[in-house]
Each structure stands twice: as structure tokens, then as C-alpha cells.
Amino acid sequence: MNRTHTPNAFGVDPWKARIDRVFARALVLPLLLALGLLALLLGDTLYRSFSVQVVRADEGPGRTYPFGLSAQEILRQDLLARGYTEEEVAFALEDPKERQVLFLQNRVELMWNTQDGPFRYVVTGVYDERVADFSLAEGLRRWNELKANLQEGERLVLNPWLDQTFLTRPPSRSPLTAGIGVAIWGTVWVLSLALLIAIPVGIGTAILLEEYLREGRLSRILEVNLRNLAGVPSIVYGLLGLALFVRSMGIGPTILAASMTLGLLGIPVIVVTAREALRAVPESLRLAAFALGATRRQVVFRVVVPAALPGMVTGVILSAARLIGEAAPLLLVGAAAYVPFLPSSPLSQYTVIPVQIYLWISQNQPEFARVAAAGILVMLLLLSVLYLLALYLRNRFRREW
């Protein structure tokens, strides 16, 4: 190729100009790929969270119920249809304990389409069996054919796996009746207690390093230590938690052990964000306060911290979002158990959202992949809310000093 670099009148080399343009465009590629991956991920998850299924009821006919009835009423009718007597049904539904067991074993959920028409309720029992499961596209395509071939006791449904009952139900051996409710509570418990540890330590350390010990031996040691801690893989924190909290201290695989482990994990992040927030406060404010005769404590806590508060709160929210998604360390500290009941105290067994998702993915049945997809959507939604909140706070309290 004859490449003559003949600059034009302005000394601009046209060849190089071309390279420049191509280069600039090529550089955007990774961003597009990353965004594309994100889109695929969301799309796949969303798509997978719907399926068309043929389900055979364990007891009774595969009935559907109209929209508008209460869950209790629907269950009552279904129990009757299954062959129980009026008295038995009335008794079971009146007694709170019995009712709770019934609702645990049966899931009343709204299906977007059924063999009897759109938006009807079905009752899924723990022992109901999935006969066939199709992706959205295929299922809708073959809808009429499937409907025509329904056997006795079977029902045809367009099932949105992410629905209101999914949010409140406990996990279950059967994907059809599984829910993320318990995991949500577990996350709330573990996260709250973890922040109870991480916030004081994190902000305290940040204040110490930014306001009291700006230089010196101790501050250097603390900083190096923090930097190393930040680089430690989260699973190693899990090992620490396992050896120290679960075993040595005998706390066992409980919420307490999990919060302590997660709390330690969250400290470095909070320190970084809090320090940034403190550093953003102009020195002139401190000087003004000192000139008025404030002690260091008064300067820090009456002027600096209040000024840095929005930044610190934002930092805490972002750290919380990070912690919510942590699965590895908690797997080691006991969240791996099959936990079908709500935690009642810090010493309860528990599970958290990302771990629950992991457990579902690890199951063999393909529907658990759908349940996992639904769970992922819940988690991403939760994280989005947190990020939006942080963003809102950051913009609302943007100061012009």
C-alpha cells in the first residue's frame, strides 16, 4: 500500500485524521459491550421469569378462580373442590395455626392467563406436579394446542414467577411454591445489624483520620491496614466469620455471626466514602470555628460532621447496597441452610437474598432457574431503589460552599 503522508494545506495529515476517528470510535466499544451485556442480562432474567406451564394438581381438579376474590375465599373453594367437607374447611380456616399451615402448603397466585381465561387465580399445592414448562415464546405459540390436550386435573397457566406471593412466601422444596419472603427478612435483619457495627466504626475511623490524626505514625498504620483490608476477598471474611464467630465464639450459623462478618466487610467502604465527605468540607469552616474558640471536638461535631452528613449518608447507602449483594462470605457463615421460617431473633438461622438465589441456581430442576430469575429481579429492584435514593440525596444536597 502506498501510504504517503502528505499533509494538506494546514499541515493536517489526512491519514492520521482518519486513524484518529476510527480510534475514538473503537474506544467506545467496551462501553457498548458492557451495556449490551447488561441489557442481555436484564432481558434474559425478565424473559425467564415468565413461563407457560401445564401443572397437574395433586388433589382435585385443576381449577382456576376469578379475579376479585380474597385469598382465603379462593383457598376455601379449592379445598371444597378437593373433597373436604364444609366443617373441615371451616375449622381449618378459622384456627390461625391451621390456616398458617394451609397457606404454607398452598400458594394462591394470580396467573396472567389460564385455560379459563386471563387473570385468574390458581391454588398450587406443595405436591402439585409440573407436567410441562415452556418459554414464553413457545408457550404462547402453542397455547391452543396445549389447552386442547389438557388432561384431568391439569391446568394451563401463563405464570409470572415474580409476583406478590413470591415476595412473601418462604422457600420450598417445590419451585412452584417457592418464595423469597424469608430471604428478604433475613437480609433486613443481617444488614441492619451489620450496619450497626460498620457505621460507627467506619465513620469513627474516618473522623479520626481526617480530623484528629491527619498525619503521623498511627494514621499511616491505619491507612495501610485499611487499604489491605479493602483488597481482601470477601470470602476470606467468611472464613474469619466461620472460624471466629461461628465456631470459636460459639455463636453458631446465626444472624448474629452473619452481621458481624458482614459488618467487618463493610467497614473499609464506609471509611472511604466518609473520608471523602469530610474532605469535601472546606478548611475555612474549620478555621472559622476554631477562631470562635471551639475545641476540636466542637469543631468536628458541631460544624464539620453536620456539613458532611449528606455525603456520609450517601456513602452508607451505597455501602448497604454493596453488602446486600454479598453471598460468598455468608455462605460460609450459615446462610446456606434451607430456612423456611422467618427469623425471630439474632440467634435464628437465616438466609439472605443473594444466597437464596445461589441455592436456587444450584438446584437441578429447571424451574428453579425461573425462581432464581424472579429473585434476581427482586434484588436488582431493591438495589435500584437504593442507588436512586443515593443519587437523589447527592443532588439535593449539592452545596455551593
Binding site: 472546606p282 478555621l287 476554631f290 477562631a291 470562635l292 474558640g293 460552599w401
Partner: protein, 270 residues
Amino acid sequence: MSLEMLKDHETVRTESVSETEALVDVRHLNLWYGPKQALFNISVRFPKNKVTAIIGPSGCGKSTLLRSLNRMNDLVPGVRVEGEVRYEGVNIYDPRVDPVAVRRHIGMVFQKPNPFPKTIFENVAFGLRLMGVKGSELEDRVVEALKRAALWNEVQDRFKKESGLRLSGGQQQRLCIARAIAVEPPLLLMDEPTSALDPIATQAIEDLILELKERYTVVIVTHNMQQAARVSDRTLFMHLGVLVEEGPTDLLFTKPKHPYTEAYITGRFG
């Protein structure tokens, strides 16, 4: 006049301030930032209820001297001070003295207005709260301070709710002045208080300073000689960390005794 000569310089004084007239008595003050000496053997008295200006080219140490009067220099790591600064009879650099206590008796206003991101009320109340003042007395004193700082009329309808940052530059500086005088400090230090302000705001502040000297003693650092001439009763001229000359303002400006003073005043350097 080289640095060598400066070190042994004897300040040229005109109509020196007597001990009884002085609120602040600086005696042989030397200051080092690390290895570098910034103030050389400064001795001077600041008279009560008068405005004293400190002028000189940039880097001459005027801000450093000002900050030595309320031990603000202590906040700079590696600073070393020798000599005495006697304030109301006590050497504030005595090892038994807590710098924080010193600062509660002395007010300071900075070059760039720096109100706290709080309400106007809370800004002015800050120093008072440090002293433990509460309730209606607190409110009364805040209002009083705002009035004396000539800000009351402009903010009386909103001073409790509005943030101090919403005020204009000139108003913010008056807020900082109100904040500083709320605790009734006998001494008020001002470090180039109008250099960040427009001419109208500057004028307002200068008028304010003239009023303030009735109740307070003011020391003001300024790089604007005309300002010094307008507001001050006495002027100190510094150069390279040395107090070259001091005396009544009108005399210093019309009949400067030291050649360097004259050179600076006539604009030949600085």
C-alpha cells in the same frame, strides 16, 4: 535593605502606645514555620478601642502576626513561637494557657467570608452556644450582634430560617462579623476582610469598622493602603517578617520615617 540587616532592625516608632493604653502587648515575638522563620523580634502595642492596620507587601508576615494574636498559628503543624503576647495582662503563650480559651476572648474575620452552612441565627449563635448561653438571652444577643453588624435590617424577617449561604458576599461578611462579635470579644481581628468583596460591600464594611471601634479594639490586615488610611488610627508597616515602622496612620502616610515605608507607600514596591 537585605534580610541580614532586617534581622537587627529596630522598629521605627512614632508616638508609641503606652502600656496602659494597650490592649495587646507583643514583646519580642519570633515565629518559625518549621525551619523557616516568619516573624523577627516583633514588639508592638495595640491600643484599646482603636483600629490598628497592618500593611506590607505579600509575604511580609502580616497575616502571621495577626494570627499570632489569637494563637491560630498553633493549628499549623510544625510551628514554633518565642516571645510574649500579653493580652489583658496575661501572656497568652504561657504554657499554662489553653489556646481555645484565648480564642473565645478574641474574634476573627477572614478574607473570604466563611459562614457555616447553617441558618443565619445559628451562625451568630455558634460562639454563644460554646459559652453555654441559651434561651431568650441567646436570641437577644444574636439580634444585638446582627444589629451591630448592620445586618439586622436586611435579614430580620428571615434570619431564623434562611441559610447563611444564601446571602450576598457582602452580607455574608457582615454575618461573619456578627458571628465574631456576638460573644463581645474585647479584641477583633480582621484579615483582609474586604479583599473578596465588591466596592459597595467594601464601603459598607469600612463604615462598620469605624462604628465597631467604639466597643471593640480592631486590628486589621489589609493590602489596600487607601483602606488603611480610611479606617485606621494606627498603622504598622511590615516587610519580610520584620516590623519596619509603626505610628499614627496620618503621620505614617504623610511623613513616613523609614525609606522602605516611604517606598511602599509611594508604590515603588509591593
